[in-house]
Amino acid sequence: MTAARAAVGLATRIAVAWLATWALGWGLVELGRDPPARQAARAAARLPPEDGPDRGARAAVEAAIARELGLAATASARWGRAMLGAATVTPGPSWRDRRPAGQVARAGAGATVIRATLAAALAIAIGAAVPLAAARRRRGGAAVATAAAIAVAVPTVWWCVLALATAPQVALTSTAAIAILAAAPAAAIALHVGRAVADLDRSPLAIAIAARGASRRRWHVHHAARLVAPGLAPLVGSTLGFTLAASAVVERALALPGAGRTLVAAAAVGDAPVVLTLAAACAALVAAAAGVAQLAVAARADDEDR
């Protein structure tokens, strides 16, 4: 595979993820209980109460907001306009405060992406290393599997509560956030790797290598790890997806600034342009991470074939 072809493939995946999220998301806006103009008026907190004295005021506010935001057209025209905005990466104004949705979404996004990426890398490193180390001890694999099965079931909120309860307040910085974000994916990866290593331990290859006098350590570090590594590639995207989504919980619990808090604040008032911008950006990021991991595995396989 040439580098140019790989780059085009990767760019296509990212573009499809971005546009598909917008297409589906705006479809949900149109299918919502209220028309988009009413949703926008509610997000801007400009909608008079339903049981207010002036019943015409509500309709007038909706009409004014529909004109202001270009929501007065038909549903298909609105959808087309939203898709045009997505294709040109100009998602339009926020329904809440009329600032560009891209600008609102960017606030704190860098910190969130760095935290989530570091957490994903940490999760993969821990999740791969722990079962390999434990497999060298008798019954170590079973102990790791049990611990990982419990750790993966702990809600992110509870990790945060436990961290807040046990760690001194000063320690609860981004480092703690990264550790919390990495906890559940690390456990899931440990389960995955542990099962793969347990299967490999019973394989004819393992028996042949042991028969040639290689130690269990050498088998796990030099052979099993290399055989298991390609299986981790599909987990890169989902791990980053998990850490990005869980960052909303962690940022709220630890009072850290970031895109997760922006998303929840926008979701709470129904600010569709900001919600869609952030969701589409996350989808594109996950697609990019998954694509890069798959390309890395493919390149390594090509090298080994040569």
Partner: protein, 297 residues
């Protein structure tokens, strides 16, 4: 006791408590003797009109929405003989909310699992029965949807749809899981395409649809069980996160996540954080353990 039995035991206990929640924690008597006649679950009006000769067996815990205890507000009170797990920030009984929260959380998990399983099975069968090109497109689509994080989808789609009913929330949690289930079922069915019994059925003249439904589909049932357990576990964890973020089930529905959210808002009162977190963790761990045991089998 094996992990599988322990998991079943916990799930059975949690389901039993969830079903019995209105009897164990409510504002109506469990049974009463009214004018000499024994009445099962009399109404509040009947209970209020009881005479001096009548008697009633009351639930051990108050209703989850009751904010006054004998006319007195007692917010954030620690556990006592009256309130076994203390009270929350509005003086409501935490044990009652935990029981009724089990109803909400387990009900949501069951609903999400049922939806994801039904849609996933249909998707898997459609992909397995489709021509090769269409199956490729279908697989690419379910791959893309399955890669979406369930929590993010639920937050974003919930905001866009603008509804917070249990059915909508279960559907939003189920969407990525349905795609994942569909992918697993399609892969399982693909592995049976060249099986001797399938070839034999084809040689006997059976139609492709009949072969798919009668002969190949049963091979995917164990995978379906694993996927359903994983979906239910994901739903329990997602519900806790959504309730914590304030975008879960509409208040005042009691849920485990809502109790955890209260704990972080009120100096981490342990009687709010510990039981709710332990229940959510135990339920998700039991479901994960069942999925793992099923997969090994």
């Amino acid at each position: 006791m094996s992990a599988r039995r322990l998991a079943w035991a916990w799930l059975a206990l949690a389901a039993l408590l969830a079903i019995a929640a209105p009897i164990l924690a409510g504002d109506r008597p469990i049974a009463a003797s009214l004018d000499g006649a024994l009445t099962w679950r009399p109404s509040a009006a009947q209970a209020a009109a009881m005479g001096p000769e009548d008697w009633a067996l009351w639930p051990p815990m108050p209703a989850p929405g009751a904010v006054r205890d004998r006319g007195v507000l007692a917010p954030l009170a620690p556990p006592s003989a009256r309130h076994w797990l203390g009270t929350d920030d509005r003086g409501r009984d935490v044990a009652a909310r935990l029981l009724h929260g089990a109803r909400a959380s387990l009900g949501l998990a069951a609903l999400a699992a049922a939806l994801a399983t039904a849609v996933g099975l249909a998707l898997g069968l459609a992909i397995a029965g489709a021509p090769r090109a269409a199956a490729g497109v279908g697989l690419a689509a379910v791959d893309a949807i399955a890669a979406a994080p369930a929590l993010l989808v639920a937050i974003a789609a919930g905001a866009l749809v603008g509804a917070r009913s249990p059915l909508v929330l279960a559907a939003l949690i189920a969407v990525p899981r349905a795609a994942d289930t569909g992918r697993l079922i399609a892969a399982q069915l693909a592995s049976t395409a060249r099986s001797p019994y399938v070839l034999a059925a084809r040689a006997l003249g059976a139609r492709p649809a009949r072969i798919l439904l009668r002969h190949r589909a049963p091979a995917a049932l164990p995978t379906l069980g694993v996927a359903a357990a994983l979906t239910a576990a994901t739903a329990v964890l997602s519900e806790a996160a959504l309730a914590f973020l304030g975008v879960g089930l509409a208040p005042p529905t009691p849920t485990w996540g809502e109790l955890l959210a209260q704990a972080t808002q009120h100096d981490l009162r342990w009687w709010l954080a510990l039981p709710a977190g332990a229940c959510a963790t135990a339920t998700a761990a039991a479901l994960f353990a069942l999925a793992l045991a099923h997969r090994r089998a």
